[in-house]
């Protein structure tokens, strides 16, 4: 599809990476594919045919870790960045990767384009947080103030 594609595939522990890598290889038959993996998965993926390179990435636990990961991704100058899920954190990561095209792909080959715009990704994260906090508050209020009438409620903890 794209002779000069430099494709970064970001790992997911939950998804079948073999299937996702196969999808990437089909989409970019002549592209250079780099698989970004945490240290514990590197050994198991040594023989992944589709990847021309494996890069170890540290799990992100802080803003500093996220910035370091973003810098690493940008250094590789990916033309395409693929994630296994279209989750908000991965959308954000895709947006800061510097890639021109970003997408999430699942085992069945469904491609979901992700915005490469950092502003849109940040807006998405903010909206999501807002929605999440609103849901949390709603549930808290119901659990706190609405009781179940059963007639038997021993106060046990």
């Amino acid at each position: 599809m794209n002779d000069e594609a430099n494709v970064g595939v970001f790992y997911s522990a939950g998804r079948d990476l073999d299937a996702v890598m196969r999808q990437a290889a089909v989409r970019f038959p002549d592209g250079r594919i780099t698989l970004l993996l945490p240290p514990e998965l590197v050994e198991a993926r040594r023989n992944t045919d589709a990847s021309t390179e494996i890069i170890t990435v540290r799990p992100v636990r802080s803003v500093g870790g996220f910035v370091r990961l973003a810098r690493l991704l940008r250094r590789h100058r990916f033309s395409d960045f693929i994630t296994c899920y279209p989750s908000r954190p991965l959308r954000l990561l895709a947006a800061v990767s510097g890639a021109r095209r970003c997408a999430s792909v699942d085992e069945q080959g469904r491609w979901t384009p992700l915005s490469a715009s950092l502003a849109l990704a940040l807006l998405g994260v903010a909206c999501n947080e807002l929605r999440g906090h609103a849901a949390w508050l709603r549930v808290w209020a119901v659990v706190r103030f609405q009781r179940v009438r059963t007639g038997e409620q021993p106060p046990r903890r």
Binding site: A135, W136, W140, P154
Partner: protein, 408 residues
Amino acid sequence: MRIAFVDPMFVWPPPGGAPVDLTYAMQGVAQAGHDVRLFLPDRDRWWGERNEAELPVPATRVPFDAAGPTRRTIGPRFREAVDAWRPDVVHLGFSFFLKPCLAAALAHHPLVLHYYAYELTCPRDYRIYLNGRTCPNNYLRTPDVCRRCTFEALGPDLRHGEPTLYAAEYLDARAYTPGYHRAVIAMIQAARAVIVNSPVEAARLAGLHPDVRMIPPGVDTDAFPAAPFPAPEAGRPKAVLMAGRAEDPAKGVDVLRQAAEALAEQRRDFEVRATWRHEERNTPWFRAVGWCTGEALRRQYAAAWCCVMPSLWDEPFGLVAAEAMATGRPVIASRVGGLGELVEDGVTGLLFERGDAPGLRDCLDRLLDDAELCARMGRAARGRIERQYAWPRIVERCYLPLFEEVVR
């Protein structure tokens, strides 16, 4: 008789637990001459590499959009598919929080409700195991306590707007509301019969339904054939196996480690093998063998002198123990939940009290000293499984009479 098995969480091929149980039950009922069909959501991600053509019974995949089943769609869609097939009885299997919606939509059929692990009595998780002990609460009887506890556990997940499947279903099904509790009670009462796996589970439903049936999961005795007892060899350690989800703290691996450590001070002729991945915690007498299934698991059972299930939570049944027994190995188990029923103390294995590491050490010491006792208990264990827990026996003794009674 036409029997519809409805299971929104079915996974093919079944990795373990409820889908395995359901697969064998459906297969057995179909082999008995009944017309059986599985109804499940049409979701590709729940189908592995194997084709649904390999399923032991025909299936109807109920269509849903990308969001999957929701509170509003799950009932009408399944109802339409099931009604079109005109079953005589509907068996409702494992689900998360949407089960009451589904039950309400199918309640016009004779309904058999299958209750897996502690799904109805603990919305927080299925183990009723909290802070290192079995939780005394029961959502059916102490709903407000359990609602608060569930919210404490799922709240952080909700706050970031991208909840897990479990938390998303909790939100969608409005499982935090008082109305949801009424829906759960209504579901239990609408069923003609309720299936549980063990007396412990039955006790938690006591008084809520007049016909709670205890049906243990079966064992595929062909998949786990009796293996000859490993011959003692000089210089080779006697293997003690802990199979299953050893990573789960509720499974009690720490109790086993304590017991083995104490035993290692007296003797060095044994090795505990656990199906977990933490090789960094290996010791000369404790070895991680990684997650094992299929042939690898059968080899582990066959190589072991005995198997240990030091569970701290009330195991609904103890399938790993049953598989070990089918292979002809004695089981040392804690006296919890279904394990206390499955293992006959002194006959098919040994029982010790929950969390009692010295007690477990003594049991291990006794079996490791006596190959003849191990072999004898192993033979008795195999016999018990063949007589009571082999799938054809379970289907013949439990499922077929149940469906016939429900239809009458």
